[in-house]
Subunit: 643 residues, 2 copies
């Protein structure tokens, strides 16, 4: 039995009945909508109450009615960490009284009895009112209860001043509340980040020499100058020596083969150690520090698996699965075998200690070396609830730490990792090539429920994925892919030298593995080389830093174009102060022409002065449909709307 | 920290995160779908567990995978009352072992170690297996652990017999469960009912004489012969004498005016009494009994309001709102006043006693007079949670009792009443006239989430609504409206004599109130009169009883037609054993011709022999598109698909 007359339903945003939090960055808004209604015809009011985990008191913002019994309000989140919000609604008897009395007065009814009721409502808000409001209210109450001032009284009864006071101090009787929902607020980098990946062992400028952290330091200015703010390294831990993989994923390594960095652990240590050939923990610490000075954060790989000679295997045998024949279970996806890797046995009876140790590993690099970003390797092969726990435990102490989920799995798997708390996620962008594929995918990310919890990071390539579209790819397709990634998504990353230098020979035709993959050997790159791809990436990255509209992903509107090889989209910042319009050709071989239809958002501003931020050319577009021509040499426009 | 690796999300059907129950009738199925998945590549299994409130044990049905990590299963509900269901999922290690081992064997790997593992799985299911399965399993385990029978062992490892046993007896470790969801199962009448409404005081065959329950008894055969199974009466309680309304809603009644039956309560009693002019409670009891013998249930009106002279007002003044001037609050919707009615004050401090008394009223007629159906008057002006409580309290003792919500309010209000437990609901059908309006509305009812909890009852008219379309309406529009109501919806009702005799003069042009409304006076009907409308209603009702496909509402598929004045739709029963195809003209004045496209469901059966159950004519339709012509004289076909 509950006496409240208010129903609150369909509160949004809400992920899986409130099981998961939505995500925002500092300074963003949350627009809460809900169906709120009561029986009968009474006037109701409702508000959103919200607070940061550090707040003692709830803040409140009044909702306004939209159509069909839906109400809406928004509030800004100003601090990192957990927020809670819910909707509260009540029948507003005072406003209801005023509304009804006004109707009766307009109908020339005698409302003396209503005025006496009104006096009761006035007296009820008296104790909440300010001094000057009190003076006014006392006067009004006096009019209401005396016979003599009827004309003044009915004027006051209908006054907007009284209305404002009633609105300001609602008497909430029999109110109802929705259940509490959660939002997690990150620092800005969670949403806006520009990643560069290379293998530190390929950092040496000397042919045939294993790179070191010191060599990496020398490359930092190059990465910074190109406009990257996040430098991600594959695992830097000791590489297993037992069952080590050879070049091109050969089962048996030859002498001198360096193995896969993901085969973690050897006599030199495990997840809390560095690979001796790269340098010491102090070297790494120095690298992180120098990077920071240049505006770069070093992102570490968090890869939960062990080489057969990882110290854990002897120290904590209960964290691995042992077979009836006494051997340990190596990784497999039958009939494939991965003998250089032993999966962690999350079904272990000792799972709580296991989880604690894995948390400890993550905390070690955060606390010891000031690492603030983890790219998590294959999170979809470890229990989802483990990630929910791990990430929230780390966030309790270190609000700044961000997690990128490296999962290229089925849609619901990828979503679940994001729901469990991963800050950013890899995406299917890598395989979306046609105009319709790109539009469909970006609209799914930005218009479905995913927009609330899934922050995409668009990677045209990774060490694991040499996408068909880039095989033996020409310069134009590389320019196009980076442009699309960096302007469609506010987080973008490349597996750097391979992308810049178009080193994308597949191991076999049609295969997405690289020939002579850096996963199994180090490579000598000509780090001094600059080409058109390098320069345009630098240019695009610099534009991203200046244009707020490119610093979020959900704010995209696709434009109609007359040519299926031409993709156009409009982006805007929260205040619509900064607006950009991107036009990209998907044809890497021919010049493409198209008419582009301006989005409705811009039609009211015709004629439009737009500047291509890449070339500096200024255009005036004065019609709804406008002509563009793009060549493979410069397959995109990045227009800023000037006026 | 939870160790389970299974995620279960998006369980459907589920109303507002499980806050409300879905609805079914005995014998229907519930198809449960859910997203169920795990990390990694392991084989998972899941099931729906369900039980009736009287069951001690959960029943279980295994789910089957659909696409994109969604699973599905259905189960039948065989008993009235509350059911609970949830989804359970687990990693199936034994099936996973078999799957992996099979792949390795096919890859010619030596799997002795796998066979040893297999023996452990076999031993684990031993204790659950039947005697004969035990014999088999022991044999298999023996093969698995000995060196000598490798060839036999690997054959057994891959056998479907072993697979079936593993599937049958899953070892559920670290399983996960969804939250529990609820369904309420009613008797069939909740879904399939045919209502006739008249005012008992108009039942007399003598001019100028107030009808009685005895007079009503005489009309029962007529109602039964027309094929109605539910006879609904406006309130039968004593009508207030203070501020009684006169004819045509006049504020002051004249001597002899009988007042509105909804102005309940006088010196003769309140909600537990009968109006003296209608007869005694015993007379009413006799009427209900006689009706039952003819297959008719009498539906009472449950109208929670009081005339000023209702005994409650003196006895329980705390259940009404008193104004500062000492008067009681009458009903109003400013500036309108309803001085003959005092609303119940649900904000009363004594609300718990109030609720109990109102429950007691409902129970009185159920237990005293065998009433099983309530048509609830204006439920949307009383608190929603009151209804949820009241209905569930009654259902605890009386599973058969059904409630029809008489609310013509905003969509979310109407939905909420259905969610709170009303068995059936009035609808907007009354105002849906064009083909597109009808299709859109019926698809909303039958394809949106509403289909799970909102059981529509289509009324072409009521004493409160004289819809514009019927004003001075001709015969054809009445035939059309009843046909649509009775074949689109499995529950249908008419405000009888007014509809049959087209007595739909409005009080003023464009107003939906009747002139000389029976709400304020009694009327002498010529109950013996039969006309074409009477006869066709009788025919349609008789067809509804024979054709299962017309006994539910959600099973409708609209067909394309070439004429906007022709509406066509196909219905089918659960087993697709009974199929009907309705074609109706919406043009009440002209003959209409159209091509009708058969639905996909029927295309495989061409040529189709169909019989018009109204006329008995047989047609053969051998093409996807077929010609129809309908005249205002007979504006519909009701085809049964014969073969």
């Amino acid at each position: 039995m509950q006496q409240t007359r208010i129903v609150i339903e369909n509160v949004s945003p809400q992920i899986d009945c409130g099981s998961y939090f939505i995500k925002r960055i500092v300074g963003q808004s949350i627009t809460v909508t809900a169906d709120v209604f009561s029986d009968g015809h009474d006037i109701i009011e409702c508000c959103v109450k919200f607070k940061h985990e550090s707040d003692k008191k709830w803040q409140e913002v009044r909702m306004v009615p939209k159509q069909n019994d839906q109400w809406s309000a928004d509030f800004k989140v100003e601090q990192q960490g957990n927020y809670t919000y819910f909707v509260e609604g009540w029948v507003d008897y005072a406003l209801n009284w005023q509304h009804g009395t006004e109707r009766k007065i307009q109908d020339n009814q005698y409302v003396k009895s209503e005025l006496l009721e009104g006096a009761e409502y006035v007296n009820a808000v008296l104790k909440l009112a300010t001094a000057s409001e009190k003076v006014y209210l006392k006067k009004v109450a006096a009019y209401f209860i005396t016979e003599s001032d009827y004309d003044v009284a009915i004027k006051e009864a209908m006054s907007s001043e009284l209305h404002q006071i009633f609105k300001k101090y609602p008497i909430r009787l029999l109110e109802n509340k929705s259940s509490e929902l959660k939002a997690y607020v990150d620092r800005k980098k969670a949403l806006f980040s520009t990643w560069y990946e290379f293998f530190p062992r390929s950092a040496s400028e000397e042919e045939g020499k294993h790179g070191t952290f010191k060599d990496c330091e020398k490359l930092l200015p190059r990465v910074a100058n190109m406009g990257f703010d996040t430098l991600y390294f594959p695992p830097i831990h000791p590489i297993g020596e037992v069952n080590r993989k050879g070049k091109n994923n050969a089962t048996n390594a030859q002498v001198g083969d360096v193995g896969s960095p993901w085969g973690i652990g050897s006599q030199y240590g495990g997840h809390k150690s560095t690979h001796p050939e790269l340098g010491t923990i102090d070297d790494f610490k120095s690298l992180v520090k120098k990077a920071k000075e240049l505006g770069i954060e070093v992102a570490m790989d968090y890869a939960l698996q062990a080489a057969p000679d990882h110290p854990y295997v002897k120290e904590f045998p209960q964290w691995f699965k042992w077979r009836p024949d006494g051997t340990v279970q190596y990784a497999e996806n039958p009939p494939k075998k991965y003998q250089d890797i032993q999966p962690i046995y999350f079904e272990s009876g000792d799972w709580k200690n296991l989880w604690k140790e894995l948390l400890d590993v993550a905390l070690f690099w955060i606390e010891e070396c000031d690492v603030k970003i983890y790219r998590v390797d294959n999170p979809h092969t470890k229990p989802f609830f483990f990630w929910g726990w791990l990430i929230s435990e780390i966030k309790k102490k270190h609000l700044d730490v961000l997690f990128l989920a490296e999962a290229f799995a089925r849609p619901k798997i990828m979503n679940e990792l994001a729901k469990q708390g991963f800050t950013q996620s890899y995406t299917y962008f890598t395989w979306r090539n046609s105009k319709s594929e790109l539009i469909e995918y970006v609209e799914e990310l930005t218009q479905s429920e995913q927009k609330e919890f899934y922050r995409p990071n668009f990677w045209p390539n990774t060490p694991d994925i040499n996408p068909l579209a880039l095989h033996h790819g020409n310069e134009s397709i590389h320019l196009q892919k980076y442009f699309l990634a960096a302007t469609l998504s506010s987080s973008v990353g490349i597996y750097g030298p391979v992308f810049e230098y178009q080193a994308s020979t597949p191991i076999a035709p049609g295969k997405e593995e690289y020939m002579d993959s850096e996963k199994y050997e180090f490579v000598k790159w000509d780090w001094k080389k600059e080409n058109k791809i390098t320069k345009l990436i630098t240019k695009i990255n610099s534009i991203r830093k200046e244009q707020d509209s490119l610093q979020q992903t959900n704010n995209v509107v696709f434009c109609e174009t007359s040519n299926d090889q031409i993709l156009a989209y409009y982006k805007f910042d929260d205040e619509k102060q900064n607006e950009t319009l991107m036009v990209a050709s998907l044809d890497a071989h021919n010049t493409a022409q198209s008419m582009v239809k301006l989005p409705n958002e811009l039609l009211g501003k015709l004629p439009l002065e737009i500047i291509d931020l890449i070339t500096g050319y200024i255009y005036v577009w004065d019609k709804e449909w406008n002509f563009v021509e793009l060549s493979p040499e410069m397959p995109f426009h990045l227009f800023k709307i000037q006026s």
